[in-house]
């Protein structure tokens, strides 16, 4: 049970990686942008991969009438998400330590895992909503109005994950260190549950 607790604490600490590393990255490349433009998505705001990428992406997006990319104060997510993750990491560390010292049931790990997974899924859902909103809520006075072959207005949201062609741009969307650590942290809590369960049945 001691081992499971340590794994739980470790997993919870991994969560804190999002305060250092970006969660996600969206990169836009095209033949005329041999050095692609990139946005790193942090838990508390957006940052260009290179210093002026955000400004330059906004510059391109204004042709299709897309809103400028949000500043931290423009979205509640950037202030709420860090608190939620910090809280969950704290709880994770506490129950991990508790299991080391006073042997609480590994079910706590499972409860933590399920709640964190739900929160994570909600986060990804929210992120996707945001992408779709940015890609489709366009200024009606936009300079360029493009339609799909079926006549519906073109949407410019990058993919949630993977690659998508946006006009002449190749958009790539993938998790970065913060997001990967978050995932590993969540999985570790599940591992802690099984390890704890196994050690319980063997004693």
């Amino acid at each position: 049970m001691k081992r499971a607790g340590i794994i739980m604490v470790l997993g919870s600490i991994f969560l804190l990686g999002i305060f250092v590393f970006p969660l996600w990255n969206i990169r836009l490349g095209a033949p005329q942008y041999p050095e692609p433009l990139g946005i790193n998505i942090y838990i508390n705001g957006l940052q260009g991969e290179n210093e002026f990428d955000i400004q330059n992406i906004d510059g391109l997006n204004h042709y299709i009438g897309m809103k400028t990319l949000p500043k931290p104060e423009d979205m509640w997510e950037f202030s709420v998400f860090p608190k939620v993750v910090a809280l969950m990491a704290g709880i994770g560390i506490v129950i991990g330590l508790l299991s080391v010292f006073i042997k609480i049931s590994p079910t706590w790990f499972l409860i933590w895992f399920v709640s964190m997974s739900v929160l994570g899924a909600l986060g990804i859902y929210d992120f996707n909503l945001w992408l779709v909103d940015y890609g489709s809520d366009l200024d009606p006075n936009a300079i360029m109005k493009l339609v799909n072959p079926d006549g519906t207005p073109m949407q410019y949201n990058p993919p949630l994950i993977g690659h998508k062609k946006l006009l002449n741009f190749d958009a790539f969307s993938y998790p970065r260190a913060g997001g990967i650590l978050l995932g590993i942290g969540i999985i570790l809590s599940l591992v802690a549950y099984f390890v704890g369960k196994k050690s319980q049945s063997s004693t």
């Binding site: 002026f52 400004q55 042709y63 300079i143």
Partner: protein, 653 residues
Amino acid sequence: MKIRILLINCFFIAALAFMVSCGQAGEKNGNGALGTSIAEKVYVAPGERDEQYGFLSGGYSGNLTVYGLPSGRLFKEIPVFSQFPTSGYGYSEETKPMLNTSFGFIPWDDLHHPDISQTNGELDGRWIFANGNNTPRIARISLSTFETEEIIEVPNSAGNHSSSFITENTEYVVAGTRFSVPVPQKDMPIKEYKSNFKGALTFIAVEPEHGHMDIKFQLLMPGFNYDLSHPGRGKSHGWFFFSTYNTEEASTLLEVNASQNDKDFIAAVNWKKIEEFVNNGGGTKMPANYAHNVYDESTHTAKSTMKTEVLTVNPSDVPGAIYFLPTPKSPHGCDVDPSGQYIIGAGKLSANITVHSFDKMLAAIEAEKFDGDAYGIPIINYDDVLAGSVQSGGLGPLHTEFDGRGNAYTTFFISSEVVKWKLGTWEVVDRKPTYYSVGHLMIPGGNSRKPHGKYLVAMNKITKDRYLPTGPEMEHSAQIYDISGEKMELLYDFPTHGEPHYAAGCNAELLVENSKKIYRIDENNHPYGIKSPADARVERDGNEVHIYMSTIRSHFTPDNIEGIKVGDKVYFHITNHEQDFDVPHGFSMIGQGTSEILIMPGQTKTSLWEPKRVGVWPFYCTDFCSALHQEMQGYVRVSPAGSNIELAWSLDE
């Protein structure tokens, strides 16, 4: 009759034989080129980059051109001494001071010899220096912005030709005068040239951190013509060598009268000795009037300051600092090999190349073996300083460079060829024709201790038959040779702009990393710059109107301005708010008596317009910046002088 037929037949046969042989020769050439991989050696596929940069002087264009090697592709023309409408250099208010001189605004010069800055005798890629020949000036160009940052005028000088070569730690850039003149200038009979005119060899100190130039001292030499020069290196570091002609001191029909002496001189100057003399308070301050123009990258603005004094040194005051090395037949080139041992003098009326030995020179000085003196400057005995001579059989050697493997390459102007020979044995290894009158040649890094030794660029004065004709004048040509093997191989020729007198080259890696991509808006300290489009405004100060304007793809802020009057001086101060590589915006105003300006990302430039007619006049962006570039425009309403229309400006109202 029979005889006639026979003769005609003979003629036909002869002609046929000639044609066949020509055809064969032509075919052979064709097969030769196709049979080898010559084309591959210069082909740089789309998206790939050249190995090296070549900076070719533009001569009478006043500018410097940047080529890729080995492709020969022209990348850029850098304005240095000439107004340049492509960017507005010399037209914008910020850059006009760059072309200020003691004669006033001089928007042109004759740029001859570029040289890249060095540290420990190796190219360091910080700056490139270039000389203006006509109104003597030296320019320093930044190799991170590829813009001219500083120009210093050289007083007491004329025909600033033996320049702008630099010592191996960029301690000095020299500006030797080709024409001797009265110093200080005065009204006197030209006939009295002899012993009255002086040749100023100017040593300009380069401040190591920012490269700022300042004349340290001027050596007032006898009234010869100082043609080319070269710093010593390695063991001869501390010395500078200048070739001379017209040691006859003739003042008319020099074509004949300056070619009378069988030998002229290479002047060997121990600049360390003179520097020491000057540092100890030696030399004479002389009133002078010359401009020093410095461009500040943070204010994007040049400032011209007039200097009033120059420190001159009389050679006889520093005994043991200057010697003359006799060199046959009006030497032009004066080149020092990478080890610093050999000083090569190319007598342009000679068939042979003269090589002096630095060690022998020191020994002769030590032993005081002199062959008289000229104006008190000791002349070393020719045989005591001669290392050897290359019996080439070519005609008119001009200039020599080195490959770093013990070989030297000399251009022959009259016989139009490049001759490769071995240092030390003086034997000719190879010779290749150039096409019409080669001048100088360049091996990247050739003017340093470490030449790259892979390519050689020969710069030719005449181009006929090489390219499609373009009227009576063709652009000059450069030819690139592969010199990596024993035999040279002609790879390619490409046209150059202006007249390429000399060039400097370096590996691409040396510059690519440091090349600037944008100017940062937050570091823009231009007094009329604005940090954001929200600060755009128009202000009147008497009859001066200052427009603080912003550009961003694809509009000007403001785009409509009213309240301007005939007779106003309207200054458009335009800040480009892009922070993206290679996205300049342009600006031009109808009827403007100047050029457009091209403003780099993050930069501010000012264009002056003096409206002469009432009306509503458009301006627009001159650089195709985006899909909506055509929409990047605006209007200025001009009212009669004395009308009381209020200043007003707007965007999207």
